[in-house]
């Protein structure tokens, strides 16, 4: 269905203008039902067509240039509807200058349904059903939708698709709608596949590096509001805590055989073995461990038997560490994160002393190979 197209549209927004032009071309091929939705390139490559919502378009041009592309997305419906579970990123968009009051309904006008009474519009636009049918745009997110619709010519092919299917849903029995939807799934998917990097799963997975928020249907997915709110607020907090950042610095003693004094290094300031090695090299200038890979996988290639022997015989020293269990291990075998968890102190050992360790490493690499 249209989801892949949505994802496509959002990806393309992050890309160059050329893509947008290309998408404008494809828009024609979709066969717009609505005359009010023209190609618009708000990156300044073509003239804006005049439109009812000129006031909004002017405003939203500015907001577009200001705001993060990640906030662009397709949401359709009347402006002025409430959107209780709006994501903070959506709020960025919605609070930007757009009034809550309805100005014009882009979606309904695209449908051609707008010609009928206000009531019908209101009831049509509050519906999650047809909107969701057409890619999860929802009447509640109208403020967003207007801006987005105008700012993203790419997704307007959706609108071309939508009016047809939306009309089906209102006028005709729903059976028609499904039938139309299914072939369109194929269409949309092939189009999407042709025009963008196939970075979407069967759904509107935004391949963006920036987490673009999708058009949201009210009350869907069915997650308790407590959980929803908690996820929204904690996403930043936990990211800081887990994994790399950790609570503060991680200083470990580094001793070198024969050196008159020890040093301390903060393991958290490095993200790979290579960095640690270079830093220690600088600190203890006669030391080399640059050969160890930053990860078991690449280390494997490095630690071929011959290479390791050369290393050890060529250089006087090896880098070892004491782990939580009190054992002395060769640095470089385990993934970096695991290493900094378990490392208690470092020791730059004479290679003669390290003979007990080195063969183990070679065996390990043999086993891996």
């Amino acid at each position: 269905m249209s989801p892949p197209l949505l994802g496509v549209g959002e990806e393309e927004e992050g890309q160059s203008n050329v893509t947008i032009l290309a998408s404008s071309a494809s828009m024609d091929s979709v066969g717009q039902n609505s005359s009010e939705l023209k190609e618009r390139n708000y990156m300044g490559l073509s003239d804006c067509s005049s439109v009812d919502s000129s006031a909004i378009s002017g405003v939203s041009n500015e907001s577009k240039s200001r705001m993060n592309l990640k906030a662009t997305e397709l949401r359709l419906g009347l402006p002025g509807s409430r959107s209780p579970e709006r994501d903070p990123e959506c709020c960025l968009l919605s609070t930007a200058e757009l009034n809550e009051k309805p100005l014009f309904p882009l979606h309904p006008s695209a449908d051609g349904i707008f010609s009928s009474s206000q009531k019908n519009i209101v009831s049509r636009n509050k519906r999650g059903f047809s909107d969701a049918m057409d890619g999860f745009s929802e009447g509640k997110f109208l403020a967003n939708s207007e801006v987005n619709v105008m700012l993203s010519p790419r997704p307007t092919p959706n609108l071309g698709v939508k009016p047809g299917s939306a009309k089906e849903s209102t006028g005709a029995p729903a059976a028609k709608m499904k039938e139309i939807a299914s072939p369109k799934i194929g269409q949309d998917r092939s189009r999407a596949a042709n025009e963008t990097s196939p970075n979407h799963m069967g759904s509107a997975n935004n391949g963006n590096s920036a987490p673009a928020t999708k058009a949201q249907v009210v009350g869907w997915p069915p997650i308790r509001s407590f959980r929803k709110n908690t996820l929204a607020t904690t996403s930043k907090n936990t990211d800081e805590v887990d994994g790399k950042a950790g609570p503060g610095a991680l200083f470990v003693k580094v001793s070198m055989d024969g050196a008159p004094y020890l040093r301390k290094v903060d393991l958290r300031t490095y993200s790979a073995y290579q960095e640690l090695s270079s830093a220690l090299e600088k600190m203890f200038s006669c030391f080399t461990i640059g050969q160890y890979g930053s990860h078991g996988a690449s280390g494997r290639e490095m630690l071929s038997e011959s290479k390791l022997k050369d290393l050890l015989h060529g250089s006087e020293y090896v880098l070892t560490y004491e782990d939580k269990d009190g054992d002395w291990m060769l640095v470089g075998d385990v993934p970096w994160e695991m290493f900094i968890d378990t490392c208690k102190r470092l020791r730059i050992m004479k290679s003669a002393d390290a003979i007990g360790l080195a063969p183990r490493a070679v065996e390990k690499s043999k086993n891996r190979n």
């Binding site: 509807s81 009831s123 069967g202 936990t238 887990d242 994994g243």
Partner: protein, 571 residues
């Protein structure tokens, strides 16, 4: 049988396990009815508007433990305005006047004000248990009243409520004389608690079995608590962040070793994963693990943790566990009975779990009977396999995050997959559908899901036959919620008698019109038909052909409710 003295009857009835059984036997004769009602101490009300408090008290004057459920299930997802109703205050008032021996109250999805909590705390001298699930409307001041005034409090269990911060430090309000706490769950509260008061409280409550901390309680306090309460069976960890080299952490490792009884573990609102090994010693005995708020535990750390938990029966997890992690679960947790996989990023439709993970679980965990699974994609083949592997499902809730997704390989509707589930799982009581579905799935449900009690439908169906298949086929259906599906007045009005056997029917964003609802209301006077008309969708004199946004239909003994706000129209 009618010659038994009433005391004997009462004694016999006391062995009946559930209120459903008691409901049945009270229909046998007038004597039985009388004996039963006077001896029923535990009362369950599935819909607080099904009857007035006065009627409840009239029938069960000796109620000691009351469970009240309020808003319909969809209210959890913001589909119902917070002002819609389900206020507990009138209930507390009525109970305070007539049932002073009330001991326990459990409320779900109700509006609870600080006044209600205050009145509650002062009206029932034997009150010992308050459980609030998914409620809102109160602040920590209400909790302070409970803490201060309920001398014999044993259970204060707050699950996923929206609690505002008040002025009081509620935890400090537990008096020194309070030593009776058995269960304290404040994990979902956002505010700070006085940590010293918390430690002292834990120290003086020797019966404490269940303690769930919120995210403001740091790891070193957790360690102190574990020292004071090594007998804990249910532990909810707040913040779990510390340097693994620190003295705090080492102490924690030692304290955990003394906690030999922990069976439920939850929380981890903040976590530094390298600290996880400290709790490994309790994992071997865990039967329930809730990591659904632990966004910081993932990847290798998560898999390692799961591998420690071989006795697990219930697992609540985020979808960042991925299919690989689910395979670890499948290989480790052979006794798994309940699995819930929540979306960590639902609005960006990013998920690491697919149908593959669920299939792996079904292979490794044949005892699985309760499932809630959020994912991005599904196939009929996977569902058919799952149905074959796990025929014991009682709860099967599948939520494909994007509406109306078909089988992502064949692009067919998911009718066959869900059909296989209902056909294979004869004990299925609750089913939630999602994905692209036609009327066929309802035909299957009507044909096979004989035990079905609750059905949730969204974005499904082709015409109005679907509802008819379900209503005709599922004799035990009590709760039906339908949204964004093409059901119209014809379906709604086809068999109205069935609605009297149901607790509620919820229809939103379908093809049902105002006229249809009016006709329905005329046909079923014993039921309340409410139209929820938020955002002024309908003007003063709306046309009958207008589509109704939300309709909530429920049976009641006491007619339309008096506390409906303006935007709710009772027909």
């Amino acid at each position: 049988m009618t010659f038994f003295p009433e005391e004997v009857l009462e004694h016999i009835f006391s062995f009946l396990p559930s209120h459903q059984h008691r409901n049945s036997i009270s229909l046998v004769s007038k004597t039985w009815f009388k004996v039963e009602r006077l001896s029923r101490h535990r009362v369950f009300v599935g819909n607080c508007y099904a009857l007035t408090p006065q009627r409840l008290i009239a029938r069960f004057p000796r109620v000691r433990a009351l469970t009240l459920k309020g808003k319909p299930h969809v209210a959890d997802f913001n589909s119902v305005s917070p002002h819609w109703g389900c206020f507990v205050f009138p209930w507390i008032v009525a109970l305070a006047q007539n049932c002073p021996s009330l001991q326990e109250i459990k409320l779900k999805r109700m509006v609870v004000s600080d006044n209600s909590l205050d009145l509650l705390s002062r009206s029932f001298p034997n009150f010992n248990s308050l459980v609030l699930v998914g409620c809102n409307g109160f602040t920590t001041d209400g909790l302070a009243a409970i803490a201060s005034n309920c001398r014999l409090l044993e259970v204060l269990d707050l699950q996923e409520n929206e609690v505002q911060e008040g002025i009081s430090q509620w935890l400090s309000c537990f008096p020194e004389s309070c030593t009776s706490l058995v269960s304290l769950n404040f994990a979902s509260l956002k505010g700070q608690v006085d940590l010293t008061a918390l430690e002292k409280l834990v120290a003086r409550c020797p019966n404490l079995r269940s303690l769930r901390l919120n995210r403001t309680v740091p790891l070193d306090m957790l360690q102190k608590i574990l020292v004071r309460a090594p007998q804990l069976v249910d532990l909810g960890i707040g913040s779990y962040v510390q340097q693994t080299r620190s003295e705090s952490y080492v102490k924690l490792c030692n304290s955990v070793l003394n906690c030999k009884s922990v069976q439920n573990l939850s929380g981890f609102w903040e976590v530094f994963p390298p600290c996880l090994p400290a709790i490994y010693p309790v994992c071997w005995n865990l039967t329930s693990l809730n990591l659904s708020y632990a966004r910081g535990i993932r990847g290798l750390h998560l898999n390692r943790l799961i591998r420690q938990c071989q006795k697990l029966q219930r697992l609540w997890i985020l979808d960042c566990i991925g299919d690989m992690g689910l395979e670890v679960v499948a290989n480790t947790c052979k006794d798994l009975q309940e699995l819930r996989v929540f979306p960590s990023d639902p609005y960006n439709a990013i998920s690491s779990v697919t149908e593959g993970g669920l299939v792996a679980i079904s292979i490794g965990c044949p005892k699985l009977h309760s499932l809630l699974y959020f994912c991005l994609q599904m196939t009929n083949a996977a569902l058919i396999t799952i149905a074959k592997n796990c025929p014991n499902f009682t709860y099967f809730r599948l939520c494909i995050l994007n509406p109306k997704m078909p089988d992502h390989i064949t692009l067919q509707p998911l009718d066959e997959g869900f059909g296989a589930i209902v056909q294979s799982c004869k004990k299925l009581r609750r089913l939630s559908l999602s994905g692209f579905l036609t009327d066929k799935v309802f035909l299957y449900i009507g044909m096979y899901a004989e035990q079905l009690e609750m059905l949730s439908v969204a974005f499904a169906g082709k015409g109005d036959k679907g509802m008819l298949y379900v209503l005709n086929g599922c004799r035990n259906l009590r709760k039906l919620e339908i949204r964004d599906s093409p059901f119209d007045d014809a379906a709604l009005l086809a068999d109205v008698v069935k609605y009297e056997r149901m607790r509620f029917l919820w229809i939103s964003s379908c093809e049902v019109t105002l006229g249809g609802c009016k006709a329905l209301a005329k046909k079923v006077p014993m039921l309340n038909v409410e139209i929820i008309n938020e955002e002024d969708q309908m003007e003063e004199n709306p046309d009958d052909s207008m589509k109704v946004e939300k309709m909530y239909l429920y049976r009641t003994l006491d007619g339309p409710r008096k506390d409906a706000p303006d935007f709710v129209w009772a027909l």
